[in-house]
């Protein structure tokens, strides 16, 4: 598998480490959330539950044997076709704040 790091260019997947689903998001209510509380469900979503789709998947990789940037790779996990590779920090800075997300939902 070849992954095009936005910083280093195209490299073999042996240079990268995989973490997993990039669509789950760490809640920021650690103070309130405890098992049994309604906030805890979000933590379950973040730590344990996965859509695991058989198609397009946003996922986190790290160019661990390269520039060490964390990357958001959008990949079809049935065919391994890669649609995009973004710098994770840039993607993280661009995402709406959790407060805004909560208001929207």
């Amino acid at each position: 598998m070849r992954i095009t790091c936005p910083h280093c260019g195209e490299r073999g997947n042996e240079e990268f480490a995989y973490l997993g689903d990039a669509t789950v998001r760490r809640p920021d209510d650690a103070g309130a959330a405890r098992p049994g509380a309604p906030e805890f469900e979000r933590w379950m979503d973040y730590v344990y539950l996965r859509d695991n789709p058989a198609g397009r998947h946003r996922e986190l990789w790290q160019h661990v044997h390269g520039c060490r940037a964390w990357l958001v790779v959008t990949r079809d996990i049935s065919t391994h076709a890669i649609f995009s590779v973004e710098d994770a920090r840039a993607a993280a800075l661009a995402r709406p704040s959790l407060v805004a997300r909560d208001a929207a939902s």
């Binding site: 997993g20 539950l49 859509d51 049935s78």
Partner: protein
């Protein structure tokens, strides 16, 4: 027809004309008491034990491809019960006990070969960890021996004892562990289940799960709706998709695990050996090929194939472990879709949907679990409650924290 040396001899003089199909190819009935989704080892075993142990007569197994087309025919055939944690050891030991009587039970020779499984250790702390595990096994009545370096050498002299980067310091041996001819497991269960009236419906993909009032009423398939009082999912790497049809989101990721077989050679390796300074396991099949594997590739995949870095890594480990293998050739490699759970252990449980049952999360250890998985899943479905052997394999353990994390690597499936 009963299989035996007598039937083989009779047919030898009859031009093999008397053999009958090992299973029927029935059309689906409008409804069943239990529909098992997934015609792999676990699904077929579940159907068999539902019929045999629980006396159910109206059972179907639906399979999207041909029976046994998934992981039951894609693994490295190892069976063992050398587990550490109390949630696991008795379950896998029951599985090994069922393996020990499987062929006579099914009247199908699956070549259960208890040749011994040897886990090598390369550091003192690894040896201590194996001692902990071996003692845990012994506490559960499972055989376990801790070998020193010379005992390992006597058992498997072809390993690299003299120049290894990570010297072999000993090993944990389970003599009752071994290998089983994988395809024969699927076929044996299929035949035995069929003989007990189970309808095995191949080329029948589930496309929807019909639920009314929180209760299952059947499955939509490519061969039409099939009504069911109870539905059991045993679809391994495809579990997330099928469960999503019932609105479930699971602590499961699907990953590719590659397996390998070499060209056949005369007997060379008489045990199952695992390398402790990496991730590599190998045995020699009765046909003569070395059957081996290593780590998962590490990324989500439904592709049933992997990539070169893992292939190289696995074969490097093999070559390092057995330096005389340099000129032996790998014949083919392939991939299976592993239902990797978040703690590395399986789930056999009810679900929030009444009448829907779940059997998944086998990671890359599902083959050895086949008999006990089927046995326990059958119990869970028939009695609507888990058997004590699978009581720890609950779906809610991720919320309660009662995890079964043998490796202690946490909520990251690709590390298990």
């Amino acid at each position: 027809m009963r299989y035996s040396i007598f039937s083989v001899l009779r047919e030898a003089f009859n031009g093999q004309r008397g053999w009958r199909p090992a299973w029927r190819e029935p059309d689906p009935k409008p409804a069943y008491d239990v529909v098992i989704v997934g015609g792999g080892g676990h699904g077929l075993a579940t159907a068999y034990y539902l019929a045999k142990v629980h006396g159910l007569r109206n059972i179907a197994v639906v399979e999207r491809g041909y029976l046994g087309s998934g992981n039951v025919g894609r693994n490295t055939t190892i069976v063992r019960s050398n587990y550490l944690l109390p949630g696991n050891t008795p379950f896998y030991e029951w599985s090994l006990k069922l393996w020990e009587g499987l062929e006579q039970d099914l009247n199908y020779n699956a070549m259960v070969s208890q040749r011994g499984v040897l886990n090598l250790c390369h550091t003192d702390s690894q040896r201590d960890a194996y001692a902990r595990r071996g003692n845990a096994m012994r506490l559960c009545g499972v055989d376990a021996e801790l070998l020193d370096r010379e005992q390992v050498r006597a058992l498997v002299p072809i390993l690299d004892f003299d120049h290894a980067r990570f010297p072999i310091k000993g090993g944990l041996l389970q003599r009752r562990g071994g290998t089983v001819r994988h395809d024969a497991v699927a076929w044996g269960y299929a035949r035995a289940a069929d003989q007990r009236g189970v309808d095995i419906i191949q080329n029948c993909e589930v496309t929807g799960i019909r639920i009314e009032g929180g209760r299952i009423i059947g499955v939509e398939t490519t061969r039409g709706f099939i009504g069911a009082k109870k539905v059991g999912l045993a679809c391994a790497g495809r579990t997330s998709q099928v469960a999503a049809m019932a609105g479930l989101r699971l602590p499961i990721e699907s990953h590719v695990l590659q397996a390998f077989v070499s060209e056949g050679v005369k007997p060379l390796l008489h045990h199952v050996v695992t390398f402790g300074a990496g991730h590599f396991y190998v045995s020699q099949s009765d046909k003569g090929g070395l059957v081996f594997g290593g780590d998962i590739d590490g990324y989500n995949s439904y592709a049933q194939r992997g990539n070169l870095p893992t292939i190289e890594d696995v074969m490097e480990e093999g070559f390092a472990l057995i330096p005389s293998l340099g000129r032996l050739r790998v014949l083919r490699h392939w991939g299976g879709i592993m239902d990797m759970s978040m703690d590395g252990s399986p789930i056999i449980d009810r679900t929030p949907v009444e009448g829907l049952y779940l059997n998944c999360g086998w990671c890359y250890g599902g083959f050895k679990a086949t008999p006990a998985s089927g046995w326990c899943f059958a119990h869970t479905i028939a009695r609507d409650e888990p058997h004590p052997l699978n009581a720890a394999y609950r779906l809610d353990r991720f919320a309660t924290g009662a995890l079964i994390d043998e490796k202690g690597s946490g909520a990251q499936p690709n590390l298990h």
